[in-house]
Amino acid sequence: MKSYLQVSSEIGILAVGVALLMIAGEFDLSIGSLIGFSSMSITLLTIEANMPMPLASILTLVMTIFIGYCNGLTVVKSGLPSFIITLGSLFIIRGLTIAITKLITGRTQISGIDESSGYDFMHSIFSSNIKIADVDFPISIFWWLLFVFLGYFVLNQTQTGNWVFATGASKESSKLMGIPIRKIKVSLFMLTAFCAWFIAVIQVTTFNGADVLRGEQKEFISIIAAVIGGTLLTGGYGSIIGVMIGALIFGIVKQGIIFAGVDADWFQVFMGVMLVSAVLVNGRFKKKYIHEF
């Protein structure tokens, strides 16, 4: 059980940020490459530059959020679809990560971060296990629940949440009502970048190092989880609890297929079918059940 919960929790954390951004009407395709960038940056700063790992992580966090800020700013200033802008940043960030890592180390995978100072501390926060009734649960599950709780709280219980809905539902109406739609969007791009960094730290402490290709396809998987959870592709509606269930389904199916002895290739087929069905169902029930909370 905990293996699928671990898979779900990583997708689930990303999907909270991704869903909020989608509700505000934008996509971020760069988060997968941001996971690669963040995990490699933390590892290089720690191993090559001899920084304590917590310091390297914080420096990386600043850089990652800055990239998110640039994504957001480019989208709101240009008025172009975020789909295209962040597709560009996906390739730029992934390319830079690979090129710079090779330039410095000549390799694409680096391990051995567990001997660095501050590693144990980071490991205990991000990748340790918590024992409940003699079962070890990965701590990422609890982080996931915290992300879900905060995401739900902000979206449904605050003024900011109402502005996120409105921004995605109608840019023009929101503007006329004085909602700072640019600020909302840029902040949410920074949030998705933060989520990517968070997953990067979990992965670095889980796998004892980094690989330039970490996080590949995570941008699509988290969008799929969000859509399965009921988030509209057109923006304006979504539920954080639904997204949690989307991530849970993802984890159960991914691990379940392996345990059932079915070839893992079928997993992709299943995800594709789930995505298309979810989009069709969301559109159909949009009018009927929307915003009954």
Binding site: F153, N156, Q157, T158, Q159, G161, N162, W163, F165, A166, A169, S170, E172, S173, S174, L176, M177, G178, I179, L232, G236, Y237, K286, K287, I290, H291, E292, F293
Partner: protein, 252 residues
């Protein structure tokens, strides 16, 4: 420029424009437009498409500034840099298509941008207050809503317009600009809205109605401003004209 506070409003409020000019590049959208309006009456701006009605509305509601001329409220010159500023000064505009967001629920629409918050550290959205207030405010306009959590898109077209009007008044609008409030509605829905617009006079609101439906405008309004090619060509009090008189001038 003086920023008007709601408290500067009196029981009776005038909005006057004096020799307003506005150009976009080489296009002269408004030439020498003057008008005087007062509260407790419906002031109708009539004109064909492209005559300059929208430009005029946008100047009054704070979207643009005029190139030349004076914009006065209660004889005080004002200048707004955004619709929000105008709204805070008590001037609200209800646009025909952008009045509400269909996929958000009714109370979230009603308080959009000005959500009430609970006291306390987290300042959470006070949904109970929002729900209750929405029900009460809409009742004043003869709309009974049993469930304000419904998507606003499930309201009829007329109800949506009235929701937007009720919201503007709740947030202190003294001067209300209605941009073609009935043009997208059927007869029945249209009549509902018309009844509520007339009731605004009793609340001493200064209503500025934009229309190209001459019959309806004549029935509703007390004063008429006719705009053609960016020019305010005629002004009438209701007793000075008739439906045919207005039509003749517009179709000339």
């Amino acid at each position: 420029m003086a920023v008007l506070k709601k408290s500067t409003y009196m029981n009776s409020n005038t909005l006057d424009l004096y020799k307003i000019y506005k150009s976009f590049g080489n296009v002269k959208a408004l030439k020498n437009v003057s008008m005087n309006t007062k509260s407790g009456q419906i002031n109708c701006i009539l004109g064909d498409n492209g005559a300059g009605k929208s430009t005029l509305v946008n100047i009054i509601s704070g979207v643009f500034r005029q190139d030349e001329g004076d914009y006065k409220i209660n004889d005080e010159i004002v200048s707004f840099s955004s619709p929000m500023e105008a709204m805070n000064a008590g001037i609200s505009t209800v646009y025909q298509n952008l009045a509400i967001i269909p996929i958000m629920n009714i109370y979230r629409n009603f308080f959009l941008g000005q959500e009430p918050t609970k006291k306390g550290f987290f300042k959470t959205f006070d949904k109970e207050f929002a729900t209750q207030t929405t029900i009460e405010e809409l009742e004043k306009f003869d709309i009974k809503i049993e469930n304000p959590k419904r998507a606003a898109g499930t309201l009829s077209g007329g109800e949506r317009q009235i929701l937007a009007i009720a919201r503007a008044l709740y947030f202190g609008a003294k001067i209300l600009i209605l941009d073609e409030p009935t043009s997208a509605l059927g007869v029945k829905e249209s009549n509902k809205v018309v009844d509520q617009i007339i009731s605004l006079k009793d609340q001493n609101i200064n209503v500025i109605l934009i229309s190209h439906n001459i019959e309806q405008a004549f029935m509703l309004s007390d004063k008429f401003f006719i705009i053609k090619n960016g020019d305010m060509i005629e002004q009438f009090e209701k007793n000075q004209t008739s439906v045919n008189g207005l039509r003749k001038i517009l179709e000339k």
